[in-house]
Amino acid sequence: MNKIKCECGHVNPEGTVLCEACGKPVEQNQHIDGNDKRKLLNMRYDGSARRSQTYNKSIVDKIWNFFSSVKVGVWLIVLALIASGIGTIFPQEQYIPANAVSRDPAIYYEDQYGILGQIYYQLGFHNLYSSWWYLLLIALIGISLVICSLDRFVPLYKALKRQRPRRHTQFLKRQRLFSETDHVKDDDKAKLVSGLKRKRYKIYEENGHIMAEKGRFSRWGPYVNHIGLIIILVAALLRMTPFMYLDEYVWVREGEQTVIPGTDGEYYIENKDFILETYDKNDERFQEAIEQQGMVEKNFQTNAVIYKETGEDVAGAEPELEKITEDEIRMNQPLKFDKYTLYQSGYQQNEFQNMTFKLHETGDPDEEALGSFTIDLTDPKDEYRLDNGFRVVISQYYPDYELNEGEPRSKTNYPRNPAFVFTVHPPGDEEPEMSFAGIGKNVDATGENDYKLGIQDFETRFASGLTVRVDYTLPFFIIGAAIFLLGVIQGMYWQHRRIWLHPKAEGIMMAAHTNKNWFGLKKDIEHIIEDTSVKMVDDQQEIE
């Protein structure tokens, strides 16, 4: 390394722009911070030697320099910004409405949005935020952040540690705030110092040269906040692993008990009761609004009991359950037990529990029952024998019936709209007959059936939809966000201000610098020169 020795005696590392000790511009390096073209010195990193500005030979140098450029960093941020915006033009795949014509993205986007939708889908924008290139973009921002911060933090830290109160006059004259007073009495100088102290500046002195400084710690704000961001990015990576994050969904019907998925059969939940409440339309306060928008939900909740399996894990044996907690789960009031959290996510109203059919003769105007049977929809049998010798066989069962391009199928596995294809075997050796029955549907396959099946009765109940969640990454996100915010506040709500006083013959030179809020710095100076003959600093900033 070619160290640079300044006339003040300080030895600076290669690439230094302003001597770390006295601030004198190092002649051959002025182009680095653009000082050769301007009157004022670029004080961003106090003219310290940054790796990215010093070396550019090896491939490592080149990569380092690429990522440590703020220009590159801003470009990455802008690209992420644009990409994020594009992802909101059409809904992401997970937001395709449940009642869409088709939830298959290959069909949905074209069907709904035409050619643009199709392009959107084919470019993969329907899953934009988990696409490899979006994640890459975020990762690049992360890398850029780390390298950028290291490139500046280390030299800036050293430069601020090595700075001396005595500054070179060239350095002072080329500060944005500067004044020179020819005659200053000694007690005016003392007044300046006491004024600075009153404003809580720290005073450093060297042979009558004074540097007053405050808020240096705010210079570390950006680096602190970048650390917070990195923690958040790492947490997001961790979240993609199954050890740290569990996401399951369970439907429990009223009165039922079921194993909680994702707990390895360790926990069971019972839905004792599901409650749905709506706002009273006679409530004076909300009357007008309810008239306009219709019924508004007030609350839905599951009264749940959680059990733990305590018995030996014997295949086929009934689980031995021990009740561990009983609580009400509502939106905004999840239930926590062990490492799991249960969230009230949704519900299904009027899910069918059982249906009773009766058999009658097709031609009978009174539809008098020849016999009837009840199907438990969670556990339908293959065949029902009626008292009068008839047999009804379930040939097809569609729990959630719909017609899809002319083909019958079940939309889900839940009995929300049950429909059956029955085969009715009359006693004796009459031919069996096929018929189709469901809510509001009763179709006779051949049109020549002698017997007909009709719905006599049914019972419905609520099914409660709960999310099961384990998320060990949350603390990381919380810590990351907290550090980020502290860093931002540290950098934004405080400023690093320095004022230099440089005795010259009878008089004094005064220069000042801050990283932001020049208005505040000027007010400080106005305050400390009050009642002295020292001139107010000139603002030498060139407005472009």
Partner: protein, 396 residues
């Protein structure tokens, strides 16, 4: 109960009128021939009135809270009104840091435009659906609004800077962009004017159309230039829509809101056109001479400082509190809902702004344009995301 709501609306109206009067006093501070002493007085009266107006608006807020039983930030009317109030608050803070009267002359009218805009939405008190029944509703919403309001002050200072600094002797790209920003403000005024006009006349036309597989109806209060996609007019004696709103507009009642937007732009154009006719020059050029005494470097500083103060608050409210609430209510702290994404876009944008300013020396005019861009994104998130994009934040 009823009387409390009446007090509440009266106080909002009072606040609006007081802001208007305060604006005139701030206006008086720029008249060149005034003596400095007189100027000081009108500035003082201006800020005092602003504070009185702000207090009146606080009374509005509290009484409405008591009447409804929840913080009045749960629908479009309440939120935008609150945003306007925060803008006044942010202005008051900035005023006491920098003692600059001219800021009030621009900040108060913008706050008034927002309040007038808000009042065109349904103002009745609506009950809260389960997901909104959380303290995080107002913790989140109030911090977001405050953060955005401080960022809006950055825009106000930037706007003054641009009007003051841009060369108006010849027409250029910059003068055109500046006029566009000013025109944007006229669109808001247009919205309020046209909505009021048709509200007074009691216009209404009902349509039936299909939305997410269901047949729904919507009630137009402005004549339908754009009707619902493949909708059918139910009310007799009303004009048929000139065309249908495009099918990709997804929000609730998207077509009706789109129609309102068209009306607002048209009305805005008319008012803008008339103003230009009267002034016989660009609006920027007409205002410029009054700003001669404003110090550009101070305006630049205020604009930046507002971002420096507003950015952490916005991050806290718009991202951190939002995430905490989403975690409690919807079991995930981040869901790529359009409104969330646009909060992220806003955040990215201001991060870019800060980096450009700090490390690439984007001061003065460049920085001012960026501040205007940031405000545009905030408004986009407030208005357009509800208009064309579907999502969880189904305000209005």
């Amino acid at each position: 109960m009823g009387s409390l709501i009446e007090i509440s609306s009266t106080m909002l109206y009072t606040a609006f009128v007081i802001y208007l009067i305060a604006t005139f006093f701030f206006g008086a501070t720029i008249r060149q021939k005034n003596k400095p002493a007189r100027k000081g007085i009108s500035g003082k009266i201006g800020i005092t009135l602003t504070i009185v107006g702000f207090l009146a608006q606080i009374v509005y807020f509290i009484t409405r809270w008591i009447a409804s039983g929840h913080a009045p930030v749960s629908n479009m009317f309440e939120f935008v009104t609150f945003f306007g109030m925060c803008l006044v608050f942010a202005f008051i803070i900035m005023y006491f840091i920098y003692r600059i009267n001219i800021l009030g002359l621009f900040a108060l009218p913008i706050a008034m435009i927002l309040i007038a805009y808000a009042s065109m939405f349904p103002t009745e008190i609506a009950p809260l659906v389960p997901s909104l029944q959380s303290h995080w509703l107002y913790i989140h919403v109030t911090t977001v609004a405050l953060g955005q309001a401080i960022l809006a002050v950055s825009f106000v200072a930037a706007l003054i800077y641009l009007i003051r600094q841009i060369d108006q002797t010849v027409r250029s790209k910059r003068t055109t962009w500046l006029e566009l920003i000013i025109f944007g403000l006229f669109v808001f005024i247009g919205f309020s004017v046209i909505s009021t006009a048709f509200n007074l006349s009691g216009y209404s036309a009902e349509f039936e159309y299909s939305f997410e597989g269901q047949t729904v109806t919507t009630d137009y209060h402005l004549p339908p230039i754009a009707g619902p996609n493949e909708g059918e007019l139910l009310t007799g004696g009303r004009m048929e829509p000139l065309f249908d709103a495009p099918g990709w507009m997804q929000g609730v009642d998207a077509a009706r809101k789109f129609n309102t937007l068209i009306w607002s732009v048209l009305t805005g154009l008319v008012i803008y056109g008339l103003t230009r006719l009267i002034l016989r020059k660009r609006i920027g050029a007409a205002i410029q001479p009054f700003l001669k005494k404003a110090k550009p470097d101070l305006l630049d500083e205020i604009s930046y400082r507002a971002v420096a103060i507003g950015f952490p608050i916005f991050t806290l409210g718009g991202l951190v509190f939002a995430a905490i609430w989403a975690q409690i209510a919807w079991d995930r702290f981040w869901g790529w809902d359009p409104k969330e994404v646009w909060a992220l876009v806003t955040w990215f944008f201001y991060a870019a702004f800060l980096h450009l300013r700090l490390s690439r020396g984007w001061h003065g005019e460049k920085s001012a344009w960026l501040a205007a861009g940031g405000f545009a994104i905030i408004l986009f998130n407030l208005i357009a995301v509800n208009l064309i994009l579907a999502g969880l934040h189904s305000y209005a």
